[in-house]
């Protein structure tokens, strides 16, 4: 274990912030969803890094559950995107403004 955990944590934090910026900047619903996946993965990397640093297997088990929940979330989210954008040309999130006052 040569590389200290702080390096992994920095990479994970950078990935998380890039994902957050993408979520705020992009307008395509699918790309926004991919940015959410990016943020989830950064958190997973943080979990595994702390599991190694603190020598606790519980962090890795939690990543397993995160993966399951992420899979379920992707399935439901993509089904929603398909049913909303089936009749439109693009998938721009700005077009969905039914709840606007």
């Amino acid at each position: 274990m040569n590389v200290p955990g702080a390096w992994y944590l920095t990479i994970a934090a950078l990935m998380f912030c890039i994902g957050a910026i993408g979520l705020l900047v992009r307008r395509n619903a699918l790309v926004m969803f991919m940015c959410v996946e990016l943020m989830l993965n950064a958190v997973n990397l943080t979990f595994v890094t702390y599991a190694r640093m603190l020598d606790d297997i519980g962090g890795q088990v939690f990543v397993f559950f995160t993966l399951v929940v992420a899979a379920a979330e992707v399935v439901i989210g993509l089904a929603l995107i398909v049913s909303i954008f089936r009749r439109r040309q693009g998938a721009t999130a700005d077009d969905v403004s039914l709840l606007r006052g």
């Binding site: 274990m1 390096w7 992994y8 920095t10 990479i11 934090a13 950078l14 990935m15 998380f16 912030c17 890039i18 994902g19 957050a20 910026i21 993408g22 705020l24 900047v25 307008r27 395509n28 699918l30 790309v31 969803f33 991919m34 940015c35 996946e37 990016l38 993965n41 997973n44 990397l45 599991a51 190694r52 640093m53 603190l54 020598d55 606790d56 297997i57 519980g58 962090g59 890795q60 088990v61 990543v63 397993f64 559950f65 993966l67 399951v68 992420a70 899979a71 379920a72 992707v74 399935v75 439901i76 993509l78 398909v82 049913s83 909303i84 009749r87 040309q89 693009g90 998938a91 721009t92």
Partner: protein, 205 residues
């Protein structure tokens, strides 16, 4: 050696996540996402989490990104994204929020102190037990109940996806909203798609 692998894949991971954000086409964003997820799997291997690395490649890079590509294909949105902003202040503000988030994360990591208590779920590295066996032992003893719940969660997700994506199912609400909004869109096919919507009074007459 480990440093070399780490540095190469760290650069690749950051380049991939930058590609997700900046790619003009959704397909390119999805492929950049594959690159990033694979690099994270390499990081898992470097840190001894072999089981999670395998699951990461199979579930994330294998299943989830393929699902994304299927949806891109299904919706036919492979044209280039419009990248000009209706709100001029949004992009600098978003970058400022991202930088502030990074600073906050570094601050938290700096002031966070591990208590030094021994692991309650078992060690991750000590001894000569393989990683898969460690994860399995914790998963099927301490986390048995949550593990069973996840199966219910997956079944609910599958049923929900089928109900949502089915034509004329409970997606009908969304579709009819669309017809009211678009007007010209509602042709004869729409009437065929929802026979229950207007067919009942005609049958009784």
């Amino acid at each position: 050696m480990e440093w070399a692998v780490f540095l190469v894949f760290a650069v690749a991971a950051l380049a991939g996540s930058g590609g997700v954000v900046m790619a003009r086409k959704p397909v390119h964003a999805a492929l950049s996402l594959v690159l990033t997820l694979f690099c994270v799997a390499v990081f898992f291997v470097l840190q001894g989490a072999h089981f999670l690395a395998a699951v990461q490649v199979i579930v994330y890079a294998g299943a989830i990104v393929i699902l994304f590509l299927f949806v891109i294909m299904l919706l036919g949105i492979d044209q280039e994204d419009v990248l000009d902003e209706p709100l001029p202040a949004q992009r600098p503000l978003a970058i400022a929020v991202g930088v502030a988030l990074f600073a906050g994360l570094l601050l938290v990591a700096k002031i966070l102190q591990p208590t030094g208590a021994t692991a309650s779920r078992g060690s991750a590295t000590q001894g000569d037990v393989a990683n898969v066996e460690r994860v399995a032992r914790s998963l099927f003893t301490d986390f048995l109940w949550p593990f069973e719940i996840t199966s219910a969660l997956l079944v609910i997700a599958v049923v929900g996806a089928v109900v949502l994506a089915r034509r004329g199912g409970s997606g009908r609400l969304l579709d009819e909203e669309e017809h009211v909004g678009a007007g010209s869109d509602a042709g004869p096919e729409a009437a065929l798609e929802h026979p229950g919507a207007r067919g009942v009074p005609e049958e009784s007459a």
